[in-house]
């Protein structure tokens, strides 16, 4: 019997979209789907999870020491619950990537990371070499511990279901680690991994100032999230959490606008699954044009402002 547990990504009040993508992956396995909410004062998030169509039951583990999702405490909880399931899935977010291998090791299971397709209950496709190859792998383990590449699965609706909520007891605080602070980049913009439109800048932007002066008006006009190539991050133009690519975020928006980005393999690995790609670059030989649906060759400092003007029409 296929019994699937999805580890939810949430903020104690609401469910993050990554959870809906992961439930979509779980549905491909066919079986009963439960969702785990591990958090503190997370009753609202549990209620929201119960609304997801196809979710039969929500397990709520609510304790102060689960509030910051520390790996040691969440893994101890999961190890206790996982034995009731054939599959445990989490989104490949920084939380999922942090916690799941710990659970897998404690269960003596070889985790399957970052799956992009489900072939059967024990066979999965996952990208390797930064997405330059796709491996189909089959697991021999009795419990499958899986992280899910969220951009590869279309999110299920957030509401329409009526699952039940059940409380589970969390093991005591491990005392091994403690939370100190969090610096969240404040922004009115949509989150990079959830945005429908992304405007991204590369080394060609020349400076961090130009991101504000030239690129931001375009992002504002489009209601887009802002991203960057690794070259722009390494040059210190923008913070690292803007980075799209193999070593940054994997995104797949409806529209990706690459400005002054040459299109290194490592960047393409992070955005090539976008529905429509636009490239603006002065070098007509730039590799970005090989993946772009629409390209404009020219000086970005002229093209981007006139694009903003054109969009206002």
């Amino acid at each position: 019997m296929t019994q699937i547990l999805v580890v939810a990504e949430h903020d104690n009040k609401t469910i993050k979209k990554a959870t809906l993508n992961t439930v979509a992956a779980a549905q491909k396995l066919g079986g009963e789907i439960h969702v785990l909410i591990a958090g503190h004062q997370a009753g609202e998030a549990a209620k929201a999870a119960a609304q997801i169509p196809g979710v039969k039951k929500v397990l709520l583990a609510d304790a102060p020491h689960l509030g910051e999702f520390l790996a040691e405490n969440v893994a101890a909880l999961l190890v206790q619950i996982a034995k009731n399931y054939s599959h445990v899935l989490a989104p490949a977010t920084s939380n999922g990537k942090n916690v799941m291998p710990r659970v897998a090791a404690l269960l003596d299971v070889q985790q399957i990371s970052d799956i992009s397709a489900v072939e059967s209950a024990d066979t999965f496709v996952r990208p390797i070499y930064a997405g330059n190859a796709l491996a189909t792998v089959k697991s021999k383990d009795s419990i499958k511990i899986i992280t899910v590449r969220t951009t590869a699965f279309d999110a299920v609706p957030a509401t329409g279901g009526n699952g039940t909520v059940e409380t589970v007891q969390a093991p005591a605080d491990s005392g091994l680690s403690s939370f100190v602070t969090r610096e969240v980049s404040k922004s009115e913009r949509p989150e990079l991994t959830a945005a429908k439109i992304i405007v991204s800048g590369g080394r060609g932007m020349g400076s961090g100032d130009n991101f504000t002066k030239v690129l931001e008006p375009l992002a504002d006009k489009l209601g887009a999230a802002m991203g960057a190539s690794r070259a722009a991050v390494d040059a210190g133009f923008v913070p690292n959490d803007w980075q799209v690519g193999q070593t940054g975020k994997i995104v797949a928006p409806d529209l990706y606008v690459a400005v002054g980005i040459s299109g290194a393999i490592q960047h393409l690995a992070g955005m090539k699954d976008s529905r429509v790609i636009v490239a603006i670059n002065k070098d007509e030989e730039a590799p970005i044009f090989q993946v772009a649906d629409f390209g404009v060759v020219g000086d970005l400092f002229q093209l981007v402002p006139s694009l903003v003007e054109e969009l206002k029409k």
Partner: protein, 249 residues
């Protein structure tokens, strides 16, 4: 304080990988191999800890074929003190590597283990978390800043949407993210010195670890290629295409 660093020999990050015609994997014969970039950051961080006086000895470990010796020599040239190769021809998966590193940790008793957050070949991102779980130690993954504070370490982590700082009790496992440091270039005198440093050779059987793979790879294929689109003359034409053809605006 003894620091143990795990390193992996991988296809160099500049090489454009090719899938083998028979779909059994990626071509690695006659391809330039290097230290996994995240592991290089791990070695650099350990060397900086030693230079600041926080660490006294750095042991580097690699698991894999004999050729990993070359990678270990590079780590010794960066500044590690001695090296251990756990030699095997078996294809190692993260759980097996974590078990081998556990066996080495029990022998070496390090206070801190630093590993790269992921290897750029299998992109698994598991070994550090698995090792800390098997040791019953805390973990601090995706580190962009590491500060030793007596019996504890304070680690700033790269997480979705920003940074998070946690405090972990030692001994512990830390995995590196890109911004932790910029590894130094290896100099010729240090390469010469590295040749004289100790390199121990161990076998998984001697460590009592079963390394047989749990996942079997059924096939490896190239991803579907995107078709190059069209170049448009100006932004006016671009907006028209986006509105009317692609319908994304």
């Amino acid at each position: 304080m003894k620091v143990l660093v795990g390193i992996k020999r991988v296809v160099d990050f500049n090489v454009k990988v090719r899938v083998k015609a028979d779909g059994s994997g990626v071509e690695t014969a006659n391809v330039k191999m290097s230290m996994n970039p995240f592991d290089e950051i791990a070695v650099e961080e350990a060397v900086r800890l030693k230079e600041s006086g926080a660490a006294t000895e750095i042991v580097v470990v690699s698991c894999g074929p004999l050729a990993c010796q070359e990678t270990l020599r590079t780590a010794l040239a960066i500044g590690a003190d001695r090296a251990i190769l756990v030699e095997t021809q078996v294809e190692l998966q993260p759980l097996a590597v974590a078990k081998l590193l556990k066996a080495v940790c029990l022998k070496e008793q390090p206070t801190l283990v630093i590993l790269g957050k992921q290897a750029i070949d299998d992109d698994a991102n598991q070994t550090g978390q698995m090792l800390s779980a098997l040791m019953g130690w805390p973990q601090a993954t995706f580190a962009s800043k590491l500060k030793m504070e007596g019996e504890k370490a304070q680690v700033t982590r790269e997480v979705d949407g920003g940074l998070e700082t946690i405090s972990i009790k030692l001994p512990a496992v830390v995995t590196t993210d890109l911004r932790l440091n910029e590894p130094r270039y290896v100099t010729l005198p240090n390469i010469m010195k590295a040749k004289k440093k100790t390199l121990e050779n161990l076998k998984p059987e001697a460590l009592g670890v079963d390394v047989s793979p749990r996942l079997s790879t059924l096939k490896v294929v190239e991803p579907g290629k995107r078709k190059a689109g069209v170049k448009v003359a100006d932004v006016k034409a671009l907006v028209e295409k986006l509105r009317n053809d692609a319908k994304v605006l």
